[in-house]
Amino acid sequence: MRVVIAEDLALLRDGLTRLLTAYGLEVVGAVDNGPSLLRALTTLRPDVAVVDVRLPPTFTDEGLRAAAAARAQLPGLPVMVLSQHVEQLYARELLSDRAGGVGYLLKDRVSDVGRFVDAVRQVAAGGTVMDPEVVGQLLARRSRETPLQRLTAREREVLALMAEGRSNAAIAARLAVTDKAVSKHINSILTKLDLPPSDDDNRRVLAVLAYLDG
């Protein structure tokens, strides 16, 4: 799997390169600014890009904008966005084209190496991965509304993990229950929230996120 990394701090750029290489991913490019990122994405066409939001030259949201520009040219180009802080505003922008292949995580999450590499692979495969903090904020904001109050505590847990983009198997492992139990919870949640049942994991995640962001 071919990866392009965009991170301006050498320490973190090298760390990411080492980490992804150790897990058998091929880092074909490692850049440290917005314009180089856009060039690398459009010429190298990697299977996935791992991008820091804040990059030179402006040190604002350069990385986010370069990723958006690249996805405008190459629809669905998988991008995993990393940041020191997560914002619903940016999550909303990243999800707006509903094309999938999007991840948005705090840089902290990289320290859970196995989970992080899984997330990168998931995004490369066209999946959607959201940081628990984004999901937590969304849930907190909508928690007063009745449809969410009809969910049981366990169902809320499953909903949060589902919104983060985890597969049924991952949810089952996390909650130490069977896959079948997870499927049952998910069906119950989708019914209570009036969302269409779907076998396509990614479409399901997007529907849940869209519902929560409503």
Partner: protein
């Protein structure tokens, strides 16, 4: 067309008449209250030497200032001339003899007191002359038109204007022409004389350039002290937070990793447990740093500016917030930051105290002013003087010459309006 002309003429006559009547008010004031105050002022100053004046000076000065205030108000209401009050703000009240001395001293050392006295003296003459002029012109004009043509028949040796005495009907009719001219002149000059009077009053009752600078310096000194204090308190808070949070956690992290290194060969299981703990601690340190950074300068504000930062803020609140943003371009960074934290504190207040179901934020940057309005449908009763978060908002605004206005009747709704000049 005719009707319109008629209206214009009626309006003109009314304005002239009203102005003449207002002039009379000034004339009466100048010959009564003004004279009394001049005499009282002079006596009070003289009696300071005898002691009793110490008590009299502040009282008389208060009277003079009340009369001056009345003239300021009339100048604004009748002539549209704005005259700011130039007086220095009093020191804290102290009782007893010392307090009396201090009040007297405060009055006597204020240059505005002596300018008031000069104005009182001028006003005795000016009020009379300017006040009576239009009125006299109108009365004399009316005499020329309506009285002179007939009165010469009854009173022997009566005359009008240049014709003195009037001796035949032709001469009598001659008086109507100067009469009409005087009437028109009186009506025409009335409003202008009123305005002239107000302008002269402003030159004496308004603040001098020096007084204006003096007030400005006082204001800046006070607001600078506030800013410096707030800055220092904020730095102390950040230092404490860094010391107790991330710094402590990084130290623990180093210890954990060092210990794990030691144990790697002897007790790999324990080493793994320590490393897992180290990872948790590093996550906590990062989370603490993140919340600290938000308090110093929110990342979205740095990355996108005020509008998106407020949008991101609204998204993170537990109640729906409607936004109405009219912000062409970005502001200067210090202003942007001040504006953001004002809105953030106002919204935090809504969440903490109002019990509101929804809120609205309007930001408009027009003609060199940023107007920020935060409205909620909560319980009301917000008071910026009661030490709530709004007090902090005011402090932030004052540093930039901004203003805060709160309308919050008991039962709500609450509207907080904040303005920042941003030339």
């Amino acid at each position: 067309m005719v009707a319109q002309n008629g209206r214009v003429i009626t309006g003109w006559v009314r304005n002239g008449t009203v102005a003449a009547a207002r002039g009379l008010v000034f004339a009466v004031l100048s010959q009564t209250v003004t004279i009394v105050l001049v005499v009282a002022s002079l006596l009070a100053v003289v009696f300071v030497a005898l002691g009793i004046g110490v008590l009299a000076v502040p009282v008389v000065a208060a009277g003079a200032r009340a009369l001056a205030d009345l003239h300021r108000r009339l100048a604004r209401d009748w002539s549209g001339v704005d005259i700011p009050r130039p007086y220095r703000s009093p020191s804290e009240p102290v009782g007893g003899v010392r307090g009396a001395w201090r009040r007297c001293w405060w009055v006597l050392t204020d240059p505005a007191t002596w300018r008031d006295l000069l104005w009182l003296l001028v006003e005795i003459v000016l009020g009379l002359v300017l006040g009576l002029l239009p009125f006299c012109l109108i009365v004399k004009g009316l005499e020329g038109i309506f009285v002179a043509p007939f009165l010469w028949l009854l009173v022997d040796g009566y005359g009008y204007g240049a014709v003195w005495p009037i001796e035949n009907p032709a001469e009598a009719l001659l008086s109507t022409l100067p009469g009409a001219s005087m009437l028109l002149l009186g009506l025409a000059v009335g409003p202008w004389i009123l305005r002239l009077h107000a302008l002269i009053a402003r030159s004496l009752l308004g603040p001098t350039r020096a007084a204006e600078l003096h007030r400005r310096v006082d204001h800046l000194a006070a607001s600078r002290t506030g800013v410096v204090d707030a800055r220092a308190a904020e730095l102390r808070r950040i230092e404490r937070d860094l010391h107790d949070g991330p710094q402590a956690r990084l130290a623990a992290l180093g210890m954990n990793i060092g210990l794990a290194e030691e144990l790697l060969a002897r007790d790999p299981d324990e080493a793994r447990r320590l490393l897992a703990e180290a990872r948790t601690v590093s996550g906590e340190a990062l989370a603490e740093l993140r919340s600290l950074v938000r308090g110093i300068h929110p990342p979205v504000l740095a990355e996108r500016g005020l509008g998106p930062a407020v949008q991101a803020l609204a998204l993170a609140l537990p109640l729906p917030v409607t936004l109405d943003l009219d912000l062409p371009g970005r502001l200067e960074p210090p202003l942007e930051s001040a504006a953001y934290f004002c809105v953030a504190e106002a919204l935090a207040n809504v969440v903490k105290h109002s019990g509101a179901g929804q809120a609205e934020v309007r930001l408009a940057h027009r003609s060199g002013r940023l107007t920020m309005t935060v409205t909620d449908d909560g319980v009301g009763g917000a008071d910026p003087d009661a030490g709530s978060g709004l007090h902090g908002v005011r402090r932030r605004l004052v540093a930039f010459d901004g203003t805060l206005a709160v309308v919050s009747p008991a039962g709500g709704p609450t509207t907080v309006t904040m303005e920042l000049p941003c030339e």
